[in-house]
Protein backbone atom coordinates (compact mmCIF):
# COMPACT_ATOMS: atom_id res chain seq x y z
CA UNK A 1 0.00 0.00 0.00
CA UNK A 2 2.76 2.41 0.95
CA UNK A 3 4.83 1.39 -2.05
CA UNK A 4 1.94 2.15 -4.34
CA UNK A 5 1.71 5.69 -3.05
CA UNK A 6 5.45 6.19 -3.36
CA UNK A 7 5.37 5.12 -6.96
CA UNK A 8 2.66 7.63 -7.71
CA UNK A 9 4.61 10.34 -5.95
CA UNK A 10 7.55 9.83 -8.26
CA UNK A 11 5.21 9.99 -11.21
CA UNK A 12 3.75 13.26 -10.06
CA UNK A 13 7.16 14.74 -9.33
CA UNK A 14 8.10 14.19 -12.95
CA UNK A 15 4.88 15.85 -14.10
CA UNK A 16 5.39 18.85 -11.84
CA UNK A 17 8.97 19.41 -13.00
CA UNK A 18 7.72 19.81 -16.54
CA UNK A 19 4.99 22.18 -15.44
CA UNK A 20 7.18 24.12 -13.02
CA UNK A 21 6.88 27.25 -15.06
CA UNK A 22 3.09 27.29 -14.81
CA UNK A 23 1.25 28.65 -11.81
CA UNK A 24 0.54 25.30 -10.26
CA UNK A 25 -1.99 26.79 -7.96
CA UNK A 26 -4.19 27.86 -10.84
CA UNK A 27 -4.24 24.55 -12.64
CA UNK A 28 -6.70 22.49 -10.69
CA UNK A 29 -6.54 23.84 -7.19
CA UNK A 30 -9.60 25.90 -6.38
CA UNK A 31 -8.71 27.04 -2.88
CA UNK A 32 -6.17 29.75 -2.28
CA UNK A 33 -3.57 29.31 0.39
CA UNK A 34 -5.00 30.15 3.80
CA UNK A 35 -8.51 30.44 2.43
CA UNK A 36 -11.24 29.91 4.99
CA UNK A 37 -13.19 26.84 3.97
CA UNK A 38 -16.27 25.06 5.26
CA UNK A 39 -17.14 21.35 5.10
CA UNK A 40 -17.98 20.30 1.57
CA UNK A 41 -16.09 23.06 -0.19
CA UNK A 42 -14.17 22.08 -3.29
CA UNK A 43 -10.42 22.40 -2.78
CA UNK A 44 -8.95 20.82 -5.87
CA UNK A 45 -9.48 18.54 -8.79
CA UNK A 46 -7.02 16.04 -10.18
CA UNK A 47 -3.83 14.29 -9.11
CA UNK A 48 -3.53 15.76 -5.65
CA UNK A 49 -3.44 13.99 -2.33
CA UNK A 50 -6.26 14.46 0.15
CA UNK A 51 -4.36 15.40 3.32
CA UNK A 52 -5.70 15.83 6.83
CA UNK A 53 -9.22 17.14 7.26
CA UNK A 54 -9.99 16.72 3.57
CA UNK A 55 -11.54 13.88 1.63
CA UNK A 56 -11.65 12.69 -1.93
CA UNK A 57 -14.79 12.04 -3.92
CA UNK A 58 -13.95 10.80 -7.37
CA UNK A 59 -11.46 13.20 -8.92
CA UNK A 60 -12.24 16.05 -6.53
CA UNK A 61 -10.95 16.88 -3.07
CA UNK A 62 -13.20 18.58 -0.54
CA UNK A 63 -12.75 20.09 2.88
CA UNK A 64 -14.12 18.13 5.85
CA UNK A 65 -13.91 20.90 8.47
CA UNK A 66 -14.07 24.61 9.04
CA UNK A 67 -10.51 25.85 8.76
CA UNK A 68 -7.76 27.33 6.63
CA UNK A 69 -6.89 25.47 3.46
CA UNK A 70 -3.25 24.96 2.55
CA UNK A 71 -1.32 23.35 -0.25
CA UNK A 72 1.90 21.53 0.64
CA UNK A 73 3.51 20.21 -2.48
CA UNK A 74 0.78 18.16 -4.07
CA UNK A 75 -1.10 17.60 -0.84
CA UNK A 76 -4.11 19.59 0.26
CA UNK A 77 -4.81 20.02 3.93
CA UNK A 78 -7.14 22.01 6.11
CA UNK A 79 -5.91 23.43 9.40
CA UNK A 80 -8.99 23.32 11.64
CA UNK A 81 -10.07 26.29 13.70
CA UNK A 82 -11.65 24.22 16.43
CA UNK A 83 -11.75 20.61 17.45
CA UNK A 84 -11.54 18.06 20.22
CA UNK A 85 -8.15 16.85 21.35
CA UNK A 86 -7.32 13.58 19.62
CA UNK A 87 -4.22 12.06 21.25
CA UNK A 88 -1.15 11.37 19.18
CA UNK A 89 1.79 9.20 20.16
CA UNK A 90 4.58 11.20 21.83
CA UNK A 91 2.29 14.08 22.81
CA UNK A 92 3.02 15.60 26.19
CA UNK A 93 -0.25 16.04 28.08
CA UNK A 94 -1.41 17.20 31.48
CA UNK A 95 -4.18 15.10 32.93
CA UNK A 96 -6.10 14.55 36.14
CA UNK A 97 -6.26 11.22 37.94
CA UNK A 98 -9.88 10.08 38.09
CA UNK A 99 -9.60 6.52 39.33
CA UNK A 100 -7.13 4.04 40.75
CA UNK A 101 -7.25 0.49 39.45
CA UNK A 102 -5.38 -2.72 40.18
CA UNK A 103 -2.45 -1.99 37.93
CA UNK A 104 -2.64 1.69 37.21
CA UNK A 105 -4.60 4.90 37.09
CA UNK A 106 -7.33 6.30 34.87
CA UNK A 107 -6.48 9.81 33.70
CA UNK A 108 -8.74 12.48 32.25
CA UNK A 109 -6.80 14.18 29.45
CA UNK A 110 -9.73 16.23 28.14
CA UNK A 111 -10.17 13.94 25.16
CA UNK A 112 -13.12 11.82 23.99
CA UNK A 113 -11.31 8.87 25.54
CA UNK A 114 -10.08 8.36 29.12
CA UNK A 115 -6.39 7.55 29.30
CA UNK A 116 -4.65 4.81 31.27
CA UNK A 117 -1.39 5.16 33.12
CA UNK A 118 -0.17 1.71 34.06
CA UNK A 119 1.96 1.30 37.13
CA UNK A 120 4.61 -0.29 34.92
CA UNK A 121 5.00 3.03 33.14
CA UNK A 122 6.04 4.97 36.22
CA UNK A 123 9.68 5.24 37.30
CA UNK A 124 10.79 2.31 39.47
CA UNK A 125 10.36 2.86 43.18
CA UNK A 126 13.16 0.84 44.77
CA UNK A 127 12.16 -2.07 42.54
CA UNK A 128 9.13 -2.89 44.67
CA UNK A 129 5.87 -4.38 43.49
CA UNK A 130 3.03 -2.15 44.60
CA UNK A 131 -0.39 -3.12 45.84
CA UNK A 132 -3.48 -0.99 45.34
CA UNK A 133 -2.96 0.97 48.53
CA UNK A 134 0.54 1.88 47.48
CA UNK A 135 -0.63 3.03 44.07
CA UNK A 136 -2.66 5.68 45.85
CA UNK A 137 0.50 6.92 47.52
CA UNK A 138 2.13 7.62 44.21
CA UNK A 139 -0.80 9.41 42.52
CA UNK A 140 -4.10 10.05 44.24
CA UNK A 141 -7.47 10.81 42.68
CA UNK A 142 -7.51 14.47 41.72
CA UNK A 143 -3.77 14.78 41.26
CA UNK A 144 -2.45 16.36 38.09
CA UNK A 145 0.20 14.53 36.15
CA UNK A 146 2.46 15.51 33.31
CA UNK A 147 2.65 12.48 31.05
CA UNK A 148 3.45 11.35 27.55
CA UNK A 149 1.20 9.38 25.23
CA UNK A 150 2.88 6.12 24.28
CA UNK A 151 0.08 4.30 22.56
CA UNK A 152 -3.24 5.15 20.92
CA UNK A 153 -5.23 3.66 18.11
CA UNK A 154 -8.81 3.19 17.02
CA UNK A 155 -9.35 0.11 19.09
CA UNK A 156 -8.23 1.21 22.52
CA UNK A 157 -7.94 4.14 24.87
CA UNK A 158 -4.70 6.13 25.05
CA UNK A 159 -1.84 4.80 27.13
CA UNK A 160 0.41 7.13 29.07
CA UNK A 161 3.85 7.05 30.66
CA UNK A 162 5.53 9.18 33.27
CA UNK A 163 8.95 7.67 32.67
CA UNK A 164 10.73 10.61 31.17
CA UNK A 165 12.47 13.80 32.04
CA UNK A 166 10.20 16.18 33.88
CA UNK A 167 7.20 13.87 33.80
CA UNK A 168 5.25 12.88 36.88
CA UNK A 169 2.98 14.45 39.43
CA UNK A 170 2.46 18.19 39.22
CA UNK A 171 3.31 19.56 42.64
CA UNK A 172 3.14 23.30 42.17
CA UNK A 173 1.85 25.94 39.83
CA UNK A 174 -1.43 26.94 38.24
CA UNK A 175 -3.18 25.37 35.32
CA UNK A 176 -5.11 26.92 32.45
CA UNK A 177 -7.47 24.89 30.29
CA UNK A 178 -7.66 26.20 26.74
CA UNK A 179 -8.76 24.84 23.39
CA UNK A 180 -6.16 22.41 21.95
CA UNK A 181 -6.39 24.18 18.60
CA UNK A 182 -4.92 27.30 20.24
CA UNK A 183 -1.81 25.61 21.65
CA UNK A 184 0.27 26.51 18.58
CA UNK A 185 -0.66 30.15 19.21
CA UNK A 186 0.48 29.88 22.81
CA UNK A 187 3.82 28.61 21.59
CA UNK A 188 4.03 31.10 18.75
CA UNK A 189 6.21 31.06 15.67
CA UNK A 190 9.52 29.51 16.73
CA UNK A 191 8.45 29.78 20.35
CA UNK A 192 8.24 33.57 20.27
CA UNK A 193 5.03 33.82 22.31
CA UNK A 194 5.88 31.26 24.98
CA UNK A 195 9.39 32.66 25.43
CA UNK A 196 7.91 36.11 25.95
CA UNK A 197 5.44 34.72 28.49
CA UNK A 198 8.17 32.94 30.42
CA UNK A 199 10.44 35.95 30.50
CA UNK A 200 7.83 38.51 31.44
CA UNK A 201 5.97 36.52 34.07
CA UNK A 202 9.08 34.78 35.41
CA UNK A 203 7.29 31.45 35.31
CA UNK A 204 8.03 28.18 33.63
CA UNK A 205 5.25 27.40 31.18
CA UNK A 206 4.57 23.81 30.17
CA UNK A 207 2.00 23.49 27.41
CA UNK A 208 0.18 20.16 27.16
CA UNK A 209 -0.90 19.21 23.64
CA UNK A 210 -4.33 18.49 25.07
CA UNK A 211 -4.94 22.17 25.83
CA UNK A 212 -3.98 22.09 29.52
CA UNK A 213 -1.12 24.49 30.24
CA UNK A 214 0.88 24.58 33.47
CA UNK A 215 2.54 27.73 34.79
CA UNK A 216 5.05 27.36 37.64
CA UNK A 217 6.37 30.46 39.30
CA UNK A 218 8.03 31.50 42.52
CA UNK A 219 4.90 33.13 43.89
CA UNK A 220 1.15 32.79 43.23
CA UNK A 221 0.86 36.25 41.68
CA UNK A 222 3.23 35.45 38.84
CA UNK A 223 1.34 32.25 38.18
CA UNK A 224 -2.01 34.04 38.18
CA UNK A 225 -0.76 36.63 35.69
CA UNK A 226 0.63 33.91 33.46
CA UNK A 227 -2.73 32.12 33.45
CA UNK A 228 -4.56 35.35 32.65
CA UNK A 229 -2.21 35.90 29.75
CA UNK A 230 -2.94 32.39 28.48
CA UNK A 231 -6.69 32.94 28.53
CA UNK A 232 -6.19 36.29 26.82
CA UNK A 233 -4.28 34.60 24.02
CA UNK A 234 -7.03 32.02 23.64
CA UNK A 235 -9.73 34.70 23.42
CA UNK A 236 -7.83 36.87 20.96
CA UNK A 237 -5.88 34.24 19.06
CA UNK A 238 -7.29 35.54 15.79
CA UNK A 239 -6.07 39.13 16.16
CA UNK A 240 -2.78 40.67 15.12
CA UNK A 241 -0.21 42.33 17.32
CA UNK A 242 -1.19 39.90 20.06
CA UNK A 243 2.31 39.31 21.40
CA UNK A 244 2.80 43.00 22.10
CA UNK A 245 -0.59 43.44 23.70
CA UNK A 246 -0.12 40.43 25.95
CA UNK A 247 3.30 41.69 26.97
CA UNK A 248 1.78 45.09 27.81
CA UNK A 249 -0.93 43.45 29.90
CA UNK A 250 1.65 41.39 31.80
CA UNK A 251 3.90 44.35 32.49
CA UNK A 252 0.93 46.31 33.78
CA UNK A 253 -0.05 43.48 36.11
CA UNK A 254 3.49 42.81 37.24
CA UNK A 255 3.99 46.34 38.56
CA UNK A 256 4.45 46.24 42.27
CA UNK A 257 4.46 42.43 42.44
Amino acid sequence: MNLHILRNQHLYVAVFVVQAKFELDQLTVHAEKKQLVAPGELLAEGPYFAGENTYRDGSKIYSARVGLADVIGNKLIVVPIKGAYIPRIDDIVIGRITDIGMSGWQVDICAPYPAMLPQSETPMQHGRDMGRRDLGHLFGVGDLVLAQVIAFDRTRDPLLTTKGRGLGKVTSGRVARISPAKIPRIIGKQGSMITMLKNETLTDIVPGQNGVVLAIGKNPDQERIAVEALYMIEREAHTSGLTDRVRAMILEEMKGK
Binding site: K34, A38, P80, I86, A181, T239
Partner: protein, 255 residues
Amino acid sequence: MGGQKKTAQLVDSNGLRVDGRRIDELRPIKLEVGVLDKADGSAYIEHGKNKILAAVYGPREAHPKHIALADRAVVRCRYHMAPFSTEERKSPAPSRREHELSKVIRESLEPSIMSEYFPRATIDIFIEVLQADAGTRCAGITSAALALADAGIPMKELVAGCAAGKIEGKVVLDLSDIEDKQGEADLPVALMARSNVVTLLQMDGSLTADEFNQAFEMATEACRKIYEMQREALKTKYHIVRDVEMKDEMVEAKA
Protein backbone atom coordinates in the same frame (compact mmCIF):
# COMPACT_ATOMS: atom_id res chain seq x y z
CA MET B 1 -54.11 33.02 -9.25
CA GLY B 2 -56.45 33.63 -6.32
CA GLY B 3 -58.65 36.61 -5.83
CA GLN B 4 -61.84 34.83 -6.69
CA LYS B 5 -64.50 33.85 -4.18
CA LYS B 6 -63.74 33.45 -0.44
CA THR B 7 -63.31 36.19 2.08
CA ALA B 8 -62.22 35.87 5.73
CA GLN B 9 -60.35 32.54 5.56
CA LEU B 10 -58.10 33.51 2.69
CA VAL B 11 -54.49 32.47 2.82
CA ASP B 12 -53.85 33.49 -0.76
CA SER B 13 -55.25 36.33 -2.91
CA ASN B 14 -53.70 38.26 -5.82
CA GLY B 15 -50.86 35.78 -5.66
CA LEU B 16 -49.79 36.93 -2.21
CA ARG B 17 -50.02 35.05 1.00
CA VAL B 18 -51.08 36.20 4.44
CA ASP B 19 -47.63 37.50 5.26
CA GLY B 20 -47.23 39.14 1.88
CA ARG B 21 -44.99 36.46 0.40
CA ARG B 22 -45.24 35.09 -3.09
CA ILE B 23 -45.94 31.43 -3.74
CA ASP B 24 -42.27 30.56 -4.08
CA GLU B 25 -40.79 32.95 -1.55
CA LEU B 26 -38.78 31.90 1.49
CA ARG B 27 -39.33 33.51 4.86
CA PRO B 28 -36.44 35.71 6.02
CA ILE B 29 -33.62 33.70 7.55
CA LYS B 30 -30.95 34.79 9.99
CA LEU B 31 -28.08 32.51 11.01
CA GLU B 32 -25.47 32.93 13.70
CA VAL B 33 -22.67 30.55 14.60
CA GLY B 34 -20.97 30.05 17.96
CA VAL B 35 -23.55 31.54 20.31
CA LEU B 36 -23.01 29.20 23.30
CA ASP B 37 -19.61 29.31 25.01
CA LYS B 38 -19.87 26.07 26.88
CA ALA B 39 -21.00 23.89 24.02
CA ASP B 40 -18.36 22.51 21.66
CA GLY B 41 -20.37 23.94 18.77
CA SER B 42 -23.54 25.97 18.53
CA ALA B 43 -25.75 27.92 16.15
CA TYR B 44 -28.87 30.04 16.29
CA ILE B 45 -31.42 30.34 13.51
CA GLU B 46 -34.37 32.61 12.91
CA HIS B 47 -36.43 31.24 10.03
CA GLY B 48 -39.54 33.38 9.74
CA LYS B 49 -40.87 33.48 13.27
CA ASN B 50 -39.04 30.30 14.23
CA LYS B 51 -36.28 30.82 16.77
CA ILE B 52 -34.14 27.77 17.35
CA LEU B 53 -30.91 27.08 19.21
CA ALA B 54 -28.71 24.13 18.30
CA ALA B 55 -25.84 22.88 20.49
CA VAL B 56 -23.35 20.11 19.81
CA TYR B 57 -21.20 18.30 22.35
CA GLY B 58 -18.57 15.99 21.05
CA PRO B 59 -16.83 13.93 20.23
CA ARG B 60 -16.87 12.89 23.86
CA GLU B 61 -16.72 9.79 25.94
CA ALA B 62 -19.64 7.44 25.57
CA HIS B 63 -21.89 7.37 28.64
CA PRO B 64 -23.20 4.72 29.22
CA LYS B 65 -20.29 2.69 27.86
CA HIS B 66 -22.37 -0.06 26.33
CA ILE B 67 -23.87 2.20 23.67
CA ALA B 68 -20.44 2.82 22.15
CA LEU B 69 -19.75 1.43 18.68
CA ALA B 70 -16.40 -0.14 17.89
CA ASP B 71 -15.80 1.53 14.54
CA ARG B 72 -17.46 4.92 14.72
CA ALA B 73 -19.05 7.54 16.95
CA VAL B 74 -22.67 7.25 18.07
CA VAL B 75 -24.71 10.27 17.01
CA ARG B 76 -27.51 11.23 19.37
CA CYS B 77 -30.04 13.95 18.76
CA ARG B 78 -32.67 15.59 20.91
CA TYR B 79 -35.29 17.83 19.37
CA HIS B 80 -37.29 19.64 22.00
CA MET B 81 -39.81 22.46 22.05
CA ALA B 82 -39.69 24.86 24.97
CA PRO B 83 -42.98 25.19 26.87
CA PHE B 84 -43.18 28.83 25.77
CA SER B 85 -42.45 28.11 22.12
CA THR B 86 -46.10 27.81 21.15
CA GLU B 87 -49.21 29.81 21.92
CA GLU B 88 -50.67 27.05 24.03
CA ARG B 89 -48.10 25.99 26.62
CA LYS B 90 -46.40 22.86 25.50
CA SER B 91 -45.68 20.34 28.23
CA PRO B 92 -41.91 19.99 28.73
CA ALA B 93 -42.13 16.20 28.65
CA PRO B 94 -40.96 14.74 25.32
CA SER B 95 -44.00 14.12 23.17
CA ARG B 96 -44.33 11.36 20.58
CA ARG B 97 -43.82 13.97 17.91
CA GLU B 98 -40.58 15.18 19.48
CA HIS B 99 -39.41 11.62 19.78
CA GLU B 100 -40.04 11.04 16.09
CA LEU B 101 -38.47 14.32 15.04
CA SER B 102 -35.39 13.56 17.13
CA LYS B 103 -34.94 10.33 15.23
CA VAL B 104 -35.70 11.82 11.86
CA ILE B 105 -33.36 14.77 12.37
CA ARG B 106 -30.58 12.49 13.52
CA GLU B 107 -31.02 10.42 10.35
CA SER B 108 -30.87 13.56 8.24
CA LEU B 109 -27.58 14.69 9.75
CA GLU B 110 -25.80 11.37 10.18
CA PRO B 111 -24.96 10.84 6.48
CA SER B 112 -22.93 14.03 6.54
CA ILE B 113 -20.99 13.30 9.71
CA MET B 114 -17.71 11.41 9.26
CA SER B 115 -18.23 9.47 12.43
CA GLU B 116 -15.56 6.90 11.57
CA TYR B 117 -13.02 9.42 12.81
CA PHE B 118 -14.11 8.87 16.43
CA PRO B 119 -14.74 5.22 17.24
CA ARG B 120 -16.20 4.51 20.68
CA ALA B 121 -17.18 8.13 21.25
CA THR B 122 -20.48 10.02 21.05
CA ILE B 123 -21.60 13.18 19.33
CA ASP B 124 -24.64 14.76 21.00
CA ILE B 125 -26.85 17.21 19.15
CA PHE B 126 -29.43 19.32 20.96
CA ILE B 127 -32.08 21.32 19.16
CA GLU B 128 -34.19 23.58 21.31
CA VAL B 129 -37.11 25.41 19.74
CA LEU B 130 -37.64 28.70 21.50
CA GLN B 131 -40.41 29.93 19.24
CA ALA B 132 -42.25 27.75 16.74
CA ASP B 133 -44.02 28.78 13.54
CA ALA B 134 -44.02 25.67 11.33
CA GLY B 135 -40.93 24.27 9.65
CA THR B 136 -39.08 23.76 12.92
CA ARG B 137 -37.60 20.41 11.97
CA CYS B 138 -36.07 21.88 8.83
CA ALA B 139 -34.76 24.96 10.60
CA GLY B 140 -33.49 22.67 13.34
CA ILE B 141 -31.54 20.64 10.80
CA THR B 142 -30.07 23.78 9.24
CA SER B 143 -28.88 25.11 12.58
CA ALA B 144 -27.66 21.72 13.83
CA ALA B 145 -25.49 21.29 10.74
CA LEU B 146 -23.89 24.66 11.47
CA ALA B 147 -23.39 23.71 15.10
CA LEU B 148 -21.67 20.48 14.04
CA ALA B 149 -19.34 22.42 11.75
CA ASP B 150 -18.72 24.95 14.51
CA ALA B 151 -17.71 22.11 16.84
CA GLY B 152 -14.99 21.11 14.42
CA ILE B 153 -16.57 17.74 13.70
CA PRO B 154 -15.44 16.42 10.31
CA MET B 155 -18.36 16.46 7.87
CA LYS B 156 -18.72 15.63 4.20
CA GLU B 157 -20.80 18.75 3.78
CA LEU B 158 -23.53 20.83 5.37
CA VAL B 159 -27.17 19.75 5.41
CA ALA B 160 -29.91 22.34 4.85
CA GLY B 161 -33.64 21.91 5.36
CA CYS B 162 -36.77 23.55 4.01
CA ALA B 163 -40.41 22.58 3.60
CA ALA B 164 -42.92 23.07 0.83
CA GLY B 165 -46.66 22.36 0.88
CA LYS B 166 -50.06 22.90 -0.64
CA ILE B 167 -52.56 25.53 0.41
CA GLU B 168 -55.88 26.11 -1.34
CA GLY B 169 -54.84 23.81 -4.15
CA LYS B 170 -51.60 25.66 -4.85
CA VAL B 171 -48.12 24.33 -4.22
CA VAL B 172 -46.21 26.86 -2.10
CA LEU B 173 -42.79 27.11 -0.50
CA ASP B 174 -42.03 27.35 3.22
CA LEU B 175 -45.35 27.13 5.02
CA SER B 176 -45.97 29.31 8.02
CA ASP B 177 -47.99 28.06 10.97
CA ILE B 178 -51.39 29.30 9.72
CA GLU B 179 -50.72 27.85 6.29
CA ASP B 180 -49.60 24.53 7.74
CA LYS B 181 -52.65 24.24 9.96
CA GLN B 182 -55.13 25.09 7.23
CA GLY B 183 -53.26 23.66 4.27
CA GLU B 184 -53.66 20.36 2.41
CA ALA B 185 -50.09 19.11 2.44
CA ASP B 186 -46.71 19.64 4.09
CA LEU B 187 -43.46 18.32 2.62
CA PRO B 188 -40.31 18.85 4.72
CA VAL B 189 -37.07 18.18 2.86
CA ALA B 190 -33.40 18.21 3.86
CA LEU B 191 -30.67 18.20 1.25
CA MET B 192 -26.90 17.90 1.04
CA ALA B 193 -26.46 20.42 -1.76
CA ARG B 194 -23.06 19.46 -3.12
CA SER B 195 -23.65 15.75 -3.51
CA ASN B 196 -27.35 16.26 -4.25
CA VAL B 197 -28.46 13.74 -1.66
CA VAL B 198 -31.80 14.05 0.09
CA THR B 199 -31.50 13.08 3.76
CA LEU B 200 -35.01 13.99 4.93
CA LEU B 201 -38.24 13.57 3.03
CA GLN B 202 -41.58 13.47 4.78
CA MET B 203 -45.08 14.19 3.70
CA ASP B 204 -48.19 15.06 5.62
CA GLY B 205 -51.46 15.39 3.68
CA SER B 206 -52.13 14.61 0.01
CA LEU B 207 -50.38 15.59 -3.18
CA THR B 208 -50.76 14.31 -6.72
CA ALA B 209 -47.60 13.04 -8.41
CA ASP B 210 -47.27 16.34 -10.30
CA GLU B 211 -47.83 18.41 -7.20
CA PHE B 212 -45.27 16.35 -5.37
CA ASN B 213 -42.68 16.95 -8.07
CA GLN B 214 -43.39 20.67 -7.97
CA ALA B 215 -43.19 20.86 -4.21
CA PHE B 216 -40.05 18.75 -4.12
CA GLU B 217 -38.35 20.95 -6.71
CA MET B 218 -39.28 24.07 -4.79
CA ALA B 219 -38.03 22.70 -1.50
CA THR B 220 -34.72 21.43 -2.83
CA GLU B 221 -34.04 24.74 -4.60
CA ALA B 222 -34.69 26.51 -1.32
CA CYS B 223 -32.32 24.12 0.46
CA ARG B 224 -29.57 25.15 -1.95
CA LYS B 225 -30.19 28.81 -1.16
CA ILE B 226 -30.11 28.08 2.54
CA TYR B 227 -26.83 26.20 2.11
CA GLU B 228 -25.28 29.39 0.74
CA MET B 229 -26.51 31.25 3.81
CA GLN B 230 -24.94 28.61 6.04
CA ARG B 231 -21.59 29.09 4.34
CA GLU B 232 -21.89 32.84 4.75
CA ALA B 233 -22.62 32.47 8.45
CA LEU B 234 -19.52 30.35 8.96
CA LYS B 235 -17.32 32.74 7.03
CA THR B 236 -18.67 35.73 8.94
CA LYS B 237 -17.82 34.07 12.21
CA TYR B 238 -14.29 33.10 11.28
CA HIS B 239 -13.11 35.49 8.59
CA ILE B 240 -10.90 37.47 10.92
CA VAL B 241 -8.78 34.40 11.52
CA ARG B 242 -7.61 34.32 7.95
CA ASP B 243 -6.69 38.01 7.83
CA VAL B 244 -4.52 37.65 10.89
CA GLU B 245 -2.80 34.53 9.61
CA MET B 246 -1.95 36.35 6.38
CA LYS B 247 -0.61 39.37 8.28
CA ASP B 248 1.55 37.17 10.48
CA GLU B 249 3.04 35.63 7.36
CA MET B 250 3.80 39.02 5.85
CA VAL B 251 5.49 40.15 9.06
CA GLU B 252 7.56 36.99 9.05
CA ALA B 253 8.55 37.47 5.45
CA LYS B 254 9.92 40.93 6.23
CA ALA B 255 11.86 39.73 9.29
